[in-house]
Each structure stands twice: as structure tokens, then as C-alpha cells.
Symmetry: C2
């Protein structure tokens, strides 16, 4: 039984608000790929828009430019090895899905390959910004579908608890080391001093 | 005794690689401000460049546009209340530093007010991109100085351990709730299946 549930687009940006590493997945004209990206962020809640850095050297970039589409899939602790693997290998010469038996399912809005075992998924339409793409490798996109695993994201919020620790998000520290968000603290507004 | 140490510019982007919430601090013509921003990311390692979303409604934005400068200060668990406070109040009518007795020190390269108690600090020169700023509230900047607290960032890497838990970074989940990176996992490259 799947734990995937739709996420209201008004809440979609919360999926990456806390800065997790994402997997960028794409398909175009019979080719597909998935890469890791530590550098992404929301840029607007409504309509939900995101920015993600996709380097000129990547195979992914050509597929994004060709199709005008990309997905962001959010991996969790259990996928640390997979995340490192797709971050360090290229899909240009060999399909990564086949090489590493990466299971995927089809995105509901755009038909993109979304990675099984992740804890959230967004399908995005590229907003063409040739200058930002050229100067900063920064792609902007509008989120058109969002889903999350209801064991760890429910009612529009992440719920990171001890009993779902394998589903907590990864935050790349460099060198294949990931910080994992295992605690939650509340901040309150201070009275003037 | 201070624990601030310079960080090589080649390692500066690692300070926000894992997606922490940042404090954006600015000063211009006798006014200063600090706000919280969950939305920032590196866009290039060398030269170190970052992107940060600064909404049109903020007082900070005018000071960035006026001075061409901004700093990113990275708060830690001990600063959750301060982060929420500067994220929910405006400095337009009253100086937040005075109102909340926020201690700062002067940035070494640009003279920006950097927030005491944070665990890392970057001074940035705005790279003028009027279109990205207008369309996505996204400001690009080049990092010209970087420092970090050597109890939690040393030799170019975050070192998040049980004995420095109060210094771990905050990752905004929404609603004043912050995830804290309290664990670290290693990912390895998988053999083909």
C-alpha cells in the first residue's frame, strides 16, 4: 500500500523550505535521467515556484532544456547511498535507472519519472530564463503537482519524529556526508528588551 | 575568547550547502537591519556565489539595493527565538538591534553588521540582476568574506556532534518550527545491479 498523498499546491514549497538535498528527474524523447542537487530553494509560495542549480556539464540539463520539464524528488535517510550514487555518476552513456535498478512511478501531471522511496515529489514546468541559466546555472520552475509520504508530511507540514527516522530528509554537507534533521525546535517572538 | 575563524572562500558555499535558514543583515546610510530568510542557496563554488530571496515588502530589500551589499549569518539552535523574532518583525520603523539588544560585530571586508551568536557569516556583494530580483525576488551575490565558529565548522567542513548540539543549524519547517540537523550519515556509491 502506498503512502503517497497529494499535497495542495499552496503547501508545495514547504517540501523544500528546510533545504533538503533533492533528486532532479527528467525524461525527453525516450531518454531519462536522475541526478542529485544540493542547491535548490523555493522562490514563491503562490504560485509555487522553485529555483534549482543544474550545471552545464550534466546530462540532465539537456533533457530539461529539451522537454521544458523537471521533477524534484526528496530523498530520505534510507536513500543516502542512492543519492550519492546518482550524484556522482552520469546518465549520458548508460541509463541510471537500469544500471542501479532504480524504481520509479509516473508523475500525475507531466508524466515525469518520480523516484520510489523518496518522501516527496514535485513536477515542475521550466520557466525559461536563459540568462540565469547561463550565468548561474539557475533554473526557475513552476510546481504543477506535489505529493508526499503521509507518514512524514501531513496536513501541509513535515512531521519529523523518532518513529519515522528513516524517512527524514538529507542535507548535503559535502563529500557524501548528509546532515539529517532529527530534532525540531520552536522559535517564539521575543518581547522587546 | 571568540571562536570565529576565517573560512577560505573556496569553502564558503559549504556553509549553506545543507540548506540552513539564514539571517540577512544589511546597513546603508546610517540604517541597519536583519531579517530571517529560509530561501537561500549557493549557485557556484568558485568564485563563491549565492542566491537569496528577499521579498519586495521587506525593509532589508531597500538597504540591499542602496548599498549593493548584504551579509548572510547562519543561526543555530540557541538562536531559534531570535531568528523567529527578526523573521516576523520589521525594522522599518524601529531598529531591531536596539529593540531586541541584538549584538553584532563588524564584517572584515565590507563593514556589514554580523550577528553575534551565529555559527557562520558571509559578506556578499550584490550582483545586480534586476530581472531576477523583480520576477522572483531572487538576489545573486558574490561572497567576499567568510567566517565560522571553529567549534562546529573546521577544516572546511561542518562538524555536527552531540557535544556541540546548541550550535547546530536551523532549517525552517514553517510556522516558527525548525528542523535541526542532529545526525550525520554517509552515502556511498552503489555497484551496478
Amino acid at each position: 500500500m502506498t503512502h503517497r498523498r497529494p499535497v495542495a499546491l499552496a503547501h508545495a514549497c514547504r517540501l523544500i523550505n528546510h533545504g533538503p538535498t533533492v533528486l532532479v528527474s527528467v525524461s525527453h524523447e525516450g531518454r531519462r535521467n536522475v541526478m542529485a542537487a544540493a542547491w535548490s530553494m523555493p522562490v514563491e509560495f503562490t504560485p509555487p515556484r522553485v529555483a534549482v542549480v543544474i550545471d552545464k556539464s550534466t546530462f540532465t540539463r539537456g533533457l530539461v532544456l529539451g522537454s521544458g520539464l523537471f521533477a524534484l524528488c526528496i530523498p530520505c535517510r534510507a536513500l543516502a547511498d542512492l543519492t550519492t550514487t546518482v550524484g556522482r555518476t552520469s546518465g549520458r552513456d548508460e541509463d541510471k535507472f537500469a544500471r542501479h535498478t532504480i524504481a520509479s512511478f509516473t508523475g500525475p501531471a507531466l508524466g515525469l519519472p518520480l523516484i520510489e522511496g523518496c518522501v516527496a515529489w514535485m513536477e515542475c514546468r521550466r520557466i525559461a530564463e536563459p540568462h540565469s541559466e547561463a550565468a548561474y546555472d539557475t533554473f526557475f520552475g513552476e510546481v504543477v503537482s506535489a505529493q508526499a509520504d503521509d507518514r512524514v508530511f501531513a496536513e501541509g507540514r513535515w512531521s519529523l519524529r523518532a518513529d519515522n527516522a528513516d524517512l527524514h530528509t538529507l542535507h548535503h554537507l559535502g563529500g557524501g556526508q548528509y546532515g539529517v534533521v532529527d530534532s525540531v525546535v520552536s522559535g517564539k517572538v521575543l518581547d522587546p528588551t
